[in-house]
Symmetry: D3
Subunit: 162 residues, 6 copies
């Protein structure tokens, strides 16, 4: 039976840290679905279709990776895709507690779905979408932190703001 | 290709928290090898063969689970078994930091091996082999914390001590 | 002399985790006042009177428990009720630090008032009002997480939203 | 009914941080039993009778405080004294996790016994028996960290060592 | 060569905890620049010129301390001042993780700039600008937490609100 | 006046993470004294003179760095060298709490001595002397983790053990 895993997130924008996890996850599972949250509670810099496209563009050569948006309860979405695993990255203790609570709650909502945590590479331990947005908004250089297409989209975004 | 995962530990003794993780891990992978550390740096209550037998006894009905002892570097052992995944449980922040360092170091030693962390069920969040040993040594009741065979072995151990 | 304790919170809505703490606290003290914050800085789902009523309804059979709203500095309120103890629940490390700072500050403001922390039951370690609100807003099932009356009120709230 | 609380510890030696907690706890309960662990797993600097005497000497004027040694499971001891509350101090996150696990385990062993945590005063946040032992062993000045009698006993101990 | 350090922050308002760090930092370096963030992402209680003036007023007798506002990327500002050190205070674990990420990111942006962390005095471990704002807004007494001029400015602010 | 900083530690053995901190610290101060603890409480792999020599060998080209052993209270040693700053590295939350307590205690013992914390490079976040000893003892490859001379000394040590 095909083992499918779901990697959910806001990806606003996707960073090199996310990409590292996606590639490592895709080695282990038969299919990895990157699930882009349509309506997160936080305000967004990029609309859903742009957040999807920047991941798809970067991932296009890997046939095991699918990029989609989703809405509603994560466990319902995971089940609807025939998946049994949620993948999440852990960088820090503050991540850990929130993620632990979410994983326990998701098991409560559907005991058939398992959450696996992968450690973010030490190279990206300080990296988050929020940090990228902040540095880009101050005209700092983020070219080492995100794929080229995102670098370009950030430049367009913050130049058109000025 | 068969997906094999290794769940390493000292299991001195195995607890219901370990068993929960083993069963949940075996659902996701084609084979789960429980790897019992032969010579951990801490002093042991049970010798290696007893630690293996108490897990084998409890797991005997599940054909996907193999129980073995191992020695030397974990990544070398994992590779020698044709496995690409290490599974570890996370209970608390203090676990988290040590485990993060070990996972990063293991990736340094062999980038082809991935560590997946599973959250311990909230029912076992306070449970560890050390706590079980301490309560049993004070004649407390550990029957809800370990499988029957371990409960019996602990009783034998601490009665024969008196 | 009557020992009175105050358990302050926003309770938006009250969860089974809160109720567990209230009952355990009421065993130890002669009177337990559940103090519902009138004007917390966060936006509310339920108005103050509904937050009071959902707790009163659930607690009605326990004569030692009083439910009230309060305003202003917590230490002033505690003193005005003739109480000398504040009770707070601890779930996680992130709770811990904020709570430690608040307890030290409250002792600075009034050294005669003591804060006691109780550990949330492991069964509710992942549970918070925010998690309940989120799951309910996505039409997830929260019946195991809150008392019946709150379950009903959440259903009414989010149905009328649609 | 008399409300009795037990404050267990090794007290090797008692510090000003412990004394602060003992006094604050004795204000809230009708009787506070300081329970000195007879056989902790760690090696001791002071034998049990000296650890008891240094607390008794400092506490002699407070009629609500009793100092005793104890052995075996803490929950059994607490019950045998007619107490329903265990008091523990919290200084730091690392304390917190261990204490959380112990409190949950003790509730598992006896649900009728409640653990209350008190925050250590900010003045003693860095203070522990281990730190006192280390500084005293290096001939550092610990007079601001422990009661006079302990200061004297430490001087005697480390002078007679030389 | 003159050693210059920069201590950046929002200081809304400056507290006794900040002042303690500023004085301790100024002992070690030849010049300490207190850099007040002009446009932090959070909403402000005091405008930039008032936040500068309250620090300048308190620091006026110390010739090594300079107070300025700044904008844009911190590392660019630090470099423009001929400084090579950023100073930050650490109070708690939650501070620590955010600060670690920021320090690593700043080293990525400019490896020639070093971040030094100083521990907040235990006397101010519970103190933050946010806590001061909250207590003052509830008419609590903050005179022991901030310098006199800030105390006065807070009184003016919240009285004029009523 | 010459600004002297002391970087104390056991260095059993020195790692690339330590060396990174030593070099970064030596940029900021006029002199950096690497102070090797003579009698730490833990058991040692390398005697004091070998621990000193492995650092001296690696540092020989940098005239600002001095390597010495020390004994007794750290604050007394720091003062005796005319230094006013202690430098410590922070990798993780568990480091943080212990280091915070030590820094506060050292300020208590001598308020004239300041502790500065530097964040370990993300490249070495998982690295410690203990991890190096363990991997080397299992014949793992530590050549990327320690300077060449230490790599050689570890090989000699563990080969002669077999």
């Amino acid at each position: 039976m095909k083992k499918i895993a779901v990697y959910p997130g806001t990806f606003d924008p996707v960073t090199n840290g996310h990409l590292d996890l996606i590639h490592r996850g895709a080695v282990i599972f038969d299919e990895l679905i990157v699930a882009v949250t349509k309506h997160p509670k936080k305000e967004l810099l990029f609309p859903t279709d742009e957040r999807i496209n920047m991941i798809r563009d970067t991932m296009k050569s890997n046939g095991k990776i699918i990029v989609e948006s989703f809405d509603g309860l994560l466990v319902d979405y995971v089940k609807s895709k025939g998946a049994s695993v949620i993948i999440r990255g852990l960088r820090a203790v503050s991540d850990f507690e929130l993620e632990l609570a979410m994983a326990l709650m998701n098991r409560k909502l559907d005991p058939g779905i398992e959450t696996f945590f992968m450690m973010t590479s030490e190279l990206y331990s300080y990296l988050s979408s929020g940090v990228v947005r902040e540095i880009a908004s101050l005209s700092g250089d983020v070219s080492a932190l995100v794929p080229d297409i995102v670098h370009q989209m950030l430049k367009d975004k913050f130049m058109s703001d000025e």
